[in-house]
Symmetry: C3
Subunit: 349 residues, 3 copies
Amino acid sequence: MNAKTLEELAAYVGGSVRGDAAVPIHSVSTLESAKEGEITFLANRKYKKLCLTTKASAIIAAEELESPASLLITEDPYYAFAQIMDLFYGKPDLPESCISPKSAIAQSAQIGENTCIGDFVSVEENTRIGRGSRIYPGVSVGKNVQIGENCVLFPNVVVYENCRIGNRVRIHANTTVGQDGFGYATHRGIHHKIVHIGRVIIEDDAELGAGCAIERGALDDTVIGKGCKIGDHVVIGHGTRIGPHCLLVPQVGIAGSVVMGHHCVAGGQVGIAGHLKIGSGVMIGAQSGVGDDIPDGTKIFGSPAFEALRAKRAYSLIKSLPDMWKSLRKMEKKLAETADAEEHGTARR
Amino acid sequence: MNAKTLEELAAYVGGSVRGDAAVPIHSVSTLESAKEGEITFLANRKYKKLCLTTKASAIIAAEELESPASLLITEDPYYAFAQIMDLFYGKPDLPESCISPKSAIAQSAQIGENTCIGDFVSVEENTRIGRGSRIYPGVSVGKNVQIGENCVLFPNVVVYENCRIGNRVRIHANTTVGQDGFGYATHRGIHHKIVHIGRVIIEDDAELGAGCAIERGALDDTVIGKGCKIGDHVVIGHGTRIGPHCLLVPQVGIAGSVVMGHHCVAGGQVGIAGHLKIGSGVMIGAQSGVGDDIPDGTKIFGSPAFEALRAKRAYSLIKSLPDMWKSLRKMEKKLAETADAEEHGTARR
Amino acid sequence: MNAKTLEELAAYVGGSVRGDAAVPIHSVSTLESAKEGEITFLANRKYKKLCLTTKASAIIAAEELESPASLLITEDPYYAFAQIMDLFYGKPDLPESCISPKSAIAQSAQIGENTCIGDFVSVEENTRIGRGSRIYPGVSVGKNVQIGENCVLFPNVVVYENCRIGNRVRIHANTTVGQDGFGYATHRGIHHKIVHIGRVIIEDDAELGAGCAIERGALDDTVIGKGCKIGDHVVIGHGTRIGPHCLLVPQVGIAGSVVMGHHCVAGGQVGIAGHLKIGSGVMIGAQSGVGDDIPDGTKIFGSPAFEALRAKRAYSLIKSLPDMWKSLRKMEKKLAETADAEEHGTARR
């Protein structure tokens, strides 16, 4: 890694320097672990006091603060940190261009310039992979697939036939794109398979974690919108359309034919039932179970899920159910005694 | 795709035609997207009015209805649609027969006629794969495995040694069959592995989604019954026996030594604890947590799960807990005031 | 399998014999299925009466009991059973040593003695794999990885660059180790990737199930402690540190930057939010959702999770919510009537 001066980094992210602009920075770290020559960041005020003792040479921060380190002041420190991480470490670890002789590429497949195909990769007939893409070992790409430019498919990813993958898409290891959806016509106790002819379309700049499973549509396509970031082990049902820039945290499951807007966030292990309409900007708390349409901009929580503030209060009261139960029984008894006393004229008074 | 006349399709599914029996049909679609030359279906009356405006040339329906399209009348339209999808599109996309020179097949393995083995497939000693099966690239099949006829194993499926797979079984990409179960003997704080010598047996006509994990038994076999359809990311524990024709929706987890009857349905993300007996025809709502034996024909819901109708009412009342809490506190206060008043003879009256 | 006498087995596990010490044992089974020549065990008194009718030649038990079978008496029968299973069946099914000519091993990679590399395994530059390890077909190991001695990586496991795996670690099929964590800096509606430079460190004697996904850290390492046993489909977030000897049951999800102590147990489908501190010896019931730090030795349950005994009582009361609701409404009505009656001087008495 070549070192950069703090001034160079400030220029790169569009920020300004307080302190030693010439200090050389060669790496990144946390406030707690940073050593000389490293830059770190303060995005959460909770950690402000760590700035007093950090050994880092520089801190990216939104405002001036007390620290032995020099400062790189910028509006959005975490974003600046992401940019600097990318500057230092964002290079792919595959060579610039190579087609492994141990791969199996169909004659009719088209591989773009500067694209790297690893060992034991199989690419079927009529498939196109754009320039600058990196296909790691063991990936299997079916027939008639289109993969755009500068994509990365990590080892053992599987893409079924006819799927469409945009530009700069990253798909982590062991993820499956385009398997048949869970669709059967049950006739006299036998479940008959619905053949699936829809595709999966993954738009530009999306990233999928490891071990995901994205079902192809039965008739319509399944769509993962532009810029979506999807965690490990997320399952998306057939014909579901996820709008742009959504964040789906690991282990989320979305059933089929759901339409989700843009900029939604679903927390870990969330489940969404089929055929629902989820608006834009919807935030869904971890482990929630969603069974109804959700309007734009709503925050929801719980299983079953409803408006988050009320839901947090309501679910936290489950803890008090034994007390409520006791209290109810006590009052019932009291009321019964009173009634009884009144009936028989034996009230205390 | 060769076109068929509506009359030919009606004969194929055992239905009758209203309208133009000679209209050529070359594809399938939804009521909304269908174009001339396409057939669609009406299985849910909710969408009946779309029949008035559909551009489809034919609709499969259970009864006569108003539409510009011709009708294919049959008792179970969704099943007929499944049959026609299969007729048009049900062909495998691997060639009829080929053994890739880039596969690795042990000398003692037996591969049936018309079976296709893709690139980078590894088949270990003494394994048999029946005729007409299609093994996609990157699949790994261990020693002494038996796979029946007309099976499809999609890319990167792994089958561990000794497992048994019936006929016409389909297993989607990145699914694992036969890994050791989660079994350890904890002795003085150290977890000692239980060696697993049971097998996984997958019976005829079962289908497994992508990224599933089916544990082999420790001593007894794990069994997936005939005709079961299992969604993506389902995990089945060691020694569990799933009866025939069950539907397990994506992300279901069933612990070890469970015995499940036939024709059960488990919704998305359901969890079932170990050693339980689940009857036949049991329906388990999404995200339920099952901790008790369940008798035949029961519908259950919730975590913890109980009878579904009561459970839906009960879980929906969590929303009202803050109101119940307030109401309780109010009554307690009132009763306390009354008691106090009576005590001191200061009751209003 | 060569038979052993019961006496030999007793000596092997440090127990003593009641009955025929010379009886030959060639296999293991359950109390119900065992046949002559087989040994079984009684670890749960619930099954004691099966000992009266078992066809096994020997039973491992903690104390004398009535049975036609001979007995192997030892303090911890299940542990003894695990040892005997291992004695009979614990051998790996790969040959002692081989490097498949169909693998792809970088020139700078170092492979230890007696290590077996299967077909279509890819090992990148500067990676070291210790002696006696078994790497099954289709495994992909990135650059600069270190894997210790006597490890087993089952088919299609993926290990990303720079990760560290200790000795005697077992990783089941289709598991991913070291993919990027779910970390993005959202700036003006666009999610910018945080480049991940931390590693995954898996310590000695850990076992990971099939289809797991262990994220590398962004800056700090993700750590799976010594002797941890992790079920299928477990997802561990970036920078999380799991202490030694924890048991994580299938489908558990742990978000990033969690610190968990030693000897914890998390039941199936448990979710743990990010940045939490989970003490040692913590037991978390199945499907729980953990949103707070948990002190040492605590048992918790529920979503949201709290102390297990109270939680079991509280969650079981959800069933009674409809009754509580009715009871509340009834009392409110009664109190309102009483108040009304008193107001108007029309009380019964």
